[in-house]
């Protein structure tokens, strides 16, 4: 798809989300956890953008800032041309009709005391999307059918469903007010291998059918490769590489991306034997006390003294391939 400003659904500009760290009786602020530090990217209508990185890198926080679960410290989130960064709470309610969330844990994210039908239909009631009871019931049943659940099961409770079915309930709930944009936060990582493919296929089908746009937050790089158009790699609150899926997987430039890719095992022993593996040393540094300069330099095998001087900016190396590394 050609880039045009009106094709952009969501723009994130220099987004920062700092969480204060307090200490002592008077909760004196002693520092910040810079969960997201200067992140910018765009999402085009109908695309899937994959956001990958290790736990604690800030990928979920980005998703929550978009949903306005958090109010960002600085920067802008522009959705359909409207700046939603400082939207008052009574307007946020209407925003949530357009932006929805699919959660990771299908066990924790469904109220055990609410029937599946009422979980899915709650948003329809809140937003007054149906005029009477018959229409409401009809809508809920349609949603059940849409995600591949038996519409007769609306009266059952979450514990009566399997993990995969629960995740389908979560997806139906997200779809209930016909959003245009869905943040999928690790949608399959809590599911069994044999179930994962069902949910991935469902997400892809729904995207085709309903013209949805996804932000896919995940740490599984093979999944992200399978369904993303654009991929952003995050490390310690920064985007370190941003490009289309093909370029990222065929020509990763940032050393961290290379290490991430080489860490994913391929289910084929003959391929595995020939692969070169990059094993990173040490752990991810604490975001409370990040290293100076490039956040990755203490673990990077290509680091030079200059790497610890300045935070590298994301720059375009080749068309549409952005990398934050001075060694590239």
């Amino acid at each position: 798809m050609e880039y045009s400003p009106d094709n952009t659904l969501l723009e994130i500009k220099n987004l920062k989300m700092y969480f204060p760290v307090t200490q002592g009786l008077f909760r004196r602020k002693v520092g910040d956890v810079k969960a997201v530090d200067d992140v910018s990217f765009n999402i085009k209508r109908g695309d899937t953008v994959g956001l990958v990185g290790e736990s604690g890198c800030g990928k979920t926080t980005v998703g929550r800032c978009i949903l306005r679960i958090y109010r960002p410290t600085a920067g802008k989130v522009i959705f359909q041309g409207q700046d939603i960064t400082n939207l008052p709470l009574n307007k946020v309610k209407y925003l949530r009709r357009e932006i929805q969330l699919i959660f990771q844990d299908p066990y924790g994210s469904l109220d055990p005391r609410q029937s599946a039908g009422s979980i899915v239909g709650e948003a329809i009631k809140i937003h007054h999307l149906s005029s009477n009871k018959t229409e409401y019931d009809e809508k809920v049943k349609e949603l059940f059918a849409l995600v591949g659940l038996d519409p007769e099961m609306t009266n059952r409770f979450p514990h009566e469903f399997s993990g995969g079915q629960r995740q389908r309930i979560g997806i139906a709930r997200a779809l209930s007010c016909s959003p245009s944009f869905i943040v999928c936060d690790e949608p399959i990582s809590a599911l069994d291998v044999s179930i994962q493919a069902q949910i991935i296929n469902l997400l892809q089908d729904l995207q085709k059918k309903l013209g949805l746009t996804y932000l896919l937050i995940a740490h599984d790089l093979s999944l992200v490769r399978h369904i993303s158009d654009t991929v952003a790699v995050m490390y310690l609150g920064h985007i370190v590489e941003l490009t289309d899926w093909k370029e990222l997987y065929e020509n990763p430039l940032m050393p961290y991306t290379q290490a991430l890719l080489s860490a994913v095992p391929i289910p084929d022993p003959s391929v595995e034997k020939k692969r070169e593996r990059i094993i990173l040393q040490g752990d991810v540094p604490s975001p409370l006390n990040p290293p100076s300069g490039c956040p990755f330099h203490p673990r990077c095998w290509m680091a030079i003294p200059d790497c610890s001087q300045e935070v590298p900016q994301l720059r375009e190396i080749s068309p549409n391939h952005m990398v934050a590394c001075i060694r590239v």
């Binding site: 490769r225 095992p265 084929d268 391929v271 595995e272 990173l280 040393q281």
Partner: protein
């Protein structure tokens, strides 16, 4: 040469309100000296329970080992009680375990060092001083920086990856002959996962131990294991050298598993093939093939009996009535 560990027809049941769950239903396998074996399957297929039973870590009640033999270095471990001296000498000593959740399997009120030293002094005749020295060396070997100071840390002061490293150090502290790693990296990030596995492989190499990796991640098995067992509904459904199994899977379940996950090196655009349906209820197992309801070949299979695990070639075993060749079923991108 006799294998290091030979499990024959192992059966483990759990008493529940709904009935008796046959978690492990006649599992036989063996591990050779210095061999790395992978055990794959979905959650609830009995892979962990079959491993816990080896050192009798099954909580009784509700669990019970109801049959089989576990022959380790020539003696049947199931002849001894779970609390007997013989088992206690082997458990943690000659057979060590690494568990999935390092936070719940480490004791939060004792320092890391204390817990490693406890294991060492239980199994080796060392003074406390020497045991501590050995614990420091082990922590260094598994890549804990500044091990001399970190040994007195408590589990909460370690990151997830470091805790798992400490678990590996503990497991290998007494030169085990066999290490059973139950989902050792499932709770960890990919880069940490690669680090930990690499480290674990180095360690078993140095100590000449055998290793069983229990996991649901086919990639990990492909990367590290020499031989694999695939489990489904409390039984082994396929076994063989891993190169062979991945190249030519013979059981519909193994084929289905391989088709259901996206691969990093395949051309994009392949439709993933999910495995529909659910594993059977282990309380009330059907008298036919346990995979039949989910099997893509069920239409061709007219045999209404429960298949036996049969040998189909060099070291290859499969529990299926049909002669399916995964090689030609178009799983692979080549």
């Amino acid at each position: 040469m006799a294998p290091l560990l030979q499990v024959k027809n192992l059966k483990v049941t759990f008493d529940t309100m709904a009935g008796v769950v046959k978690a492990v239903d006649g599992v036989s396998y063996h591990i050779n000296e210095e061999e790395v074996v992978g055990l794959v399957g979905e959650s609830g297929c009995g892979k962990s329970v079959s491993q816990m039973a080896v050192t009798q870590l099954i909580a009784t009640p509700p669990g019970q080992i109801v049959g089989g033999e576990v022959i380790f270095e020539g003696q049947d471990l199931l002849k001894y009680g779970a609390d007997s001296g013989q088992i206690r000498a082997i458990r943690g000593g000659k057979i060590a375990m690494i568990f999935q959740e390092p936070m719940t399997s480490l004791n939060p009120v004792f320092s890391i060092g204390e817990q490693i030293i406890e294991t060492i002094s239980l199994h080796l005749q060392l003074t406390r001083q020497d045991a501590r020295q050995r614990a420091i060396e082990l922590l260094e070997q598994v890549g804990i920086p500044d091990a001399k100071a970190r040994i007195d840390n408590y589990p909460h002061q370690f990151s997830g990856g470091m805790r798992q490293r400490a678990m590996i150090a503990m497991a290998l502290s007494c030169h085990p002959k066999l290490v059973i790693a139950d989902e050792p990296t499932t709770a960890l990030d990919v880069t940490t996962q690669a680090q930990i596995l690499e480290n674990m492989m180095d360690m078993v190499d140095v100590f000449h131990s055998s290793l069983v990796i229990v996991t649901h991640n086919l990639g990990i098995v492909a990367r590290h294991a020499q031989r694999i067992y695939v489990m489904y509904a409390g039984r082994i459904v396929e076994a063989g050298p891993s190169e062979n199994v991945f190249k030519n899977p013979l059981h519909p379940y193994t084929i289905a598993l391989l088709k259901s996950v996206p691969r990093l090196d395949e051309p994009r655009g392949r439709q993933l093939v999910p495995i529909f349906g659910l594993p059977p209820n282990l309380i009330d197992m059907p008298p036919i093939c346990a995979f039949k309801v989910r099997c893509s070949w069920a239409g061709e299979c007219k045999n209404e009996t429960d298949p036996e695990l049969r040998q189909v070639g060099d070291n290859r075993f499969v529990r299926c009535h049909l002669d399916i060749k995964g090689e030609s079923s178009g799983i692979f991108p080549r």
